[in-house]
């Protein structure tokens, strides 16, 4: 019987000819990623070895990546102490894929992994972060796990008792029109599927609009697959995947490229016509509360946030800088920009984007998760409204349960910054 991309990937990883949905496998892990919650992973990891008479040693330091991004630079002594413990562990275990609070290597984990070529097609990637689904954009089977699960991976090098998931095939026909972006597409899809519509499933992306999309856009789609409950999102690798890994991530040599079988069985097929799509907004307080921009236009904004593992890449920054160049962020609205990595920040500096945004009144902060999850900077006041290019708008998400968060594309964020209200980028000249 034909296999989906994920079935095929899992079969190859386990050295089998066939795996079926529902099969239970022990999966070898190619890359295990953590951020500051490595502090808890270390605690659980050491606990596993208690009373075994064996020293706690990770299975393979080459396959572990740790990136500081959630609270950089540390906002409290507690975080600073956690980061210190992690640094000591990294040195002790010889973990080299470690990205500290540094301008020459730092950034958000879901940007650091792709841009450093740590992820390849056909790999199994786990991260102690729910947005690990991002890396499906490069053809990996990538998903989030908890800290104790990660501790088990560090000890064993494998994931135990994984049930082979079924897949939902999403076919995106046509082309995205001007002013409409991959973010609008994924918000539309989450609205269609609902916040739990893809629970325990993989979303496999196909169609003309996906083939034409840059890796940067595919990262946006897979990043937010988890907001429909999906275990993973995946784009079967193609020429664009090869181009990105070779030209932008510096990965030499051949890649393990394959696609799903033509007769693969999907649990559901969803078709979207990209030509008909307009900018989408996820309204408070769930990501699946998605509306067309025409229904929310004019909403007054206190804060606009551009950045995150979803939309803090150079093409996102470029859209914002070009819109703001020579103009001003509306009085009464604050605009915060968090590039997703220092490599992106540096490129934005070279291209003059940082100057464009700062002169327009935006505050450009250091790369990191920033205000997305309300732990570091840019918290909201009571009854304030924010518009953000981030991925979640849950009650309390941006640090205040009394505030509202709307989600959008960078183009909508930029257009709205000029007016101070939610605005359609197709109407800004």
């Amino acid at each position: 019987m034909g296999m989906t991309y994920t079935q095929k990937l899992l079969a190859r990883a386990c050295g089998r000819d066939q795996v079926d949905v529902g099969d239970i496998l022990e999966l070898p892990v190619h890359l295990a990623m953590s951020h500051e919650n490595a502090a808890l992973v270390i605690n659980q990891f050491n606990d596993i070895f208690t009373g075994t008479g064996t020293q706690p040693v990770v299975w393979d330091p080459e396959r572990i990546a740790i990136i500081f991004d959630h609270r950089v630079p540390a906002e409290s002594s507690k975080t600073a102490t956690n980061q210190k413990k992690i640094r000591e562990f990294v040195a002790l275990q010889g973990i080299e894929k470690f990205h500290d609070v540094r301008g020459d290597e730092g950034g958000i984990c879901h940007q650091i992994l792709p841009e450093n070529g740590y992820v390849r097609p056909g790999q199994i990637v786990v991260g102690s972060d729910s947005h690990t689904t991002t890396h499906g954009a490069l053809g990996a089977f990538a998903f989030g796990i908890g800290a104790t699960e990660m501790a088990a991976v560090w000890a064993l090098g494998s994931l135990l008792n994984v049930e082979v998931p079924g897949s939902i095939k999403v076919v995106v026909k046509g082309q995205l029109s001007n002013g409409v972006y991959p973010k609008d597409l994924i918000l539309k899809l989450i609205g269609l599927l609902s916040a739990e519509g893809a629970n325990y499933k993989v979303i496999e992306f196909h169609g003309e609009a996906i083939r034409d999309m840059s890796t940067s856009g595919r990262l946006v789609l897979c990043n937010m697959a988890v907001e429909a409950g999906a275990t993973a999102g995946v784009v079967p690798p193609d020429a664009e995947t090869r181009r990105y890994l070779r030209d932008e991530a510096g990965v030499p040599g051949e890649l393990d490229m394959f696609g799903p079988d033509p007769d693969a069985r999907y649990e559901r097929v969803v078709e979207i016509n990209a030509d008909e799509l307009d900018p989408q907004i996820a309204c408070p307080h769930t990501v699946d509360n998605v509306k067309s921009i025409s229904q929310v236009k004019g909403k007054k904004l206190d804060q606009i946030v551009v950045g995150s593992c979803t939309n803090g890449r150079i093409d996102d920054i470029e859209i914002v800088a070009r819109t703001l160049r020579g103009k001003h962020v509306a009085k009464g609205t604050r605009m915060l920009v968090f590039p997703a990595s220092w490599r992106i920040y540096t490129e934005a500096l070279k291209n003059g984007y940082i100057t464009d945004m700062v002169l327009a009144g935006a505050v450009v902060c250091n790369p990191g998760c920033g205000p997305c999850l309300g732990v570091h900077q840019g918290a909201l006041g009571d009854n304030e409204t924010a518009l953000a290019t981030t991925n979640r708008n849950f009650k309390g998400r941006m640090g205040n349960p009394g505030a509202e968060v709307f989600l959008c594309s960078p183009a909508v964020a930029a257009a709205s910054a000029l007016s101070g209200v939610i605005s359609d980028p197709r109407e800004v000249h």
Binding site: I24, E36, N37, A39, L40, N43, Q44, D47, I48, F49, T50, G51, T52, T54, H70, R71, S76, K78, T79, N82, G127, S128, D129, S130, G144, I145, G146, A147, T148, E149, A151, A152, A155, L156, L160, N161, V162, E163, A195, E196, N199, Y200, G229, T231, T286, D288, L373, G374, V375, R392, F394, K395, G396, R397, G399, P401
Partner: protein, 166 residues
């Protein structure tokens, strides 16, 4: 298994940001996380911290409980009070984290109960003693049962390492 009252009734899509707000994420140890359980619900958080919620009580939720972040604090903070979560279904990572840290959770797709109702769990059903109705429990994913039986992932992996070394 156990009996107790529904002490908190919640709707669908309760995110980990509601269960354990992001701003407390620098606190990681299971011994310390219970203090911040449902921190944005001041009344319930106070009741928990003042030990007014008996162990064995139930939190009742709708679909997709624990969606969002992978933060394990969302499971360990409830586990700290030995509460049981009953939901119509659970988000994947939360379900896995709960099993891994030993939080009791029950998938009960048709559950009907109100805050204050007395529930009893036995023989594959949740009995609402207040209304006299019973609701079938959906078994947890079979792939996870061995971990539950071992008392959590840490003892499970510890034994596995010893077995594989032998």
């Amino acid at each position: 298994m156990n009996a107790g009252k529904v002490v908190l009734k919640l709707g669908n899509d309760i995110s980990t940001d509601i269960i354990y707000p992001g701003r407390y994420m620098a606190t990681v140890l299971p011994t310390e996380t219970p203090k911040f359980a449902f921190a944005d619900d001041a009344e319930f958080n106070r009741a928990l911290n003042e030990n007014k919620v008996p162990a064995g009580s139930f939190i009742l939720a709708g679909l997709n409980f624990g969606c969002g972040s992978s933060r394990e604090q969302a499971a360990s903070c409830i586990k700290g009070y030995e509460l049981t979560v009953i939901a119509r279904n659970f988000a994947r990572i939360f379900l896995q984290n709960s099993i891994n840290v030993g939080l009791k959770m029950i998938i009960c797709p048709d559950i009907e109960a109100s805050e204050g109702d007395e529930l009893e769990v036995r023989a594959g059903e949740v009995h609402n003693l207040t209304t006299g109705k019973s609701f079938a429990i959906q078994p947890l994913p079979k792939a996870r049962q061995a971990i539950i039986d071992a008392g959590g992932l840490i003892p499970y992996v510890r034994k596995l390492l010893l077995d594989r070394a032998a």
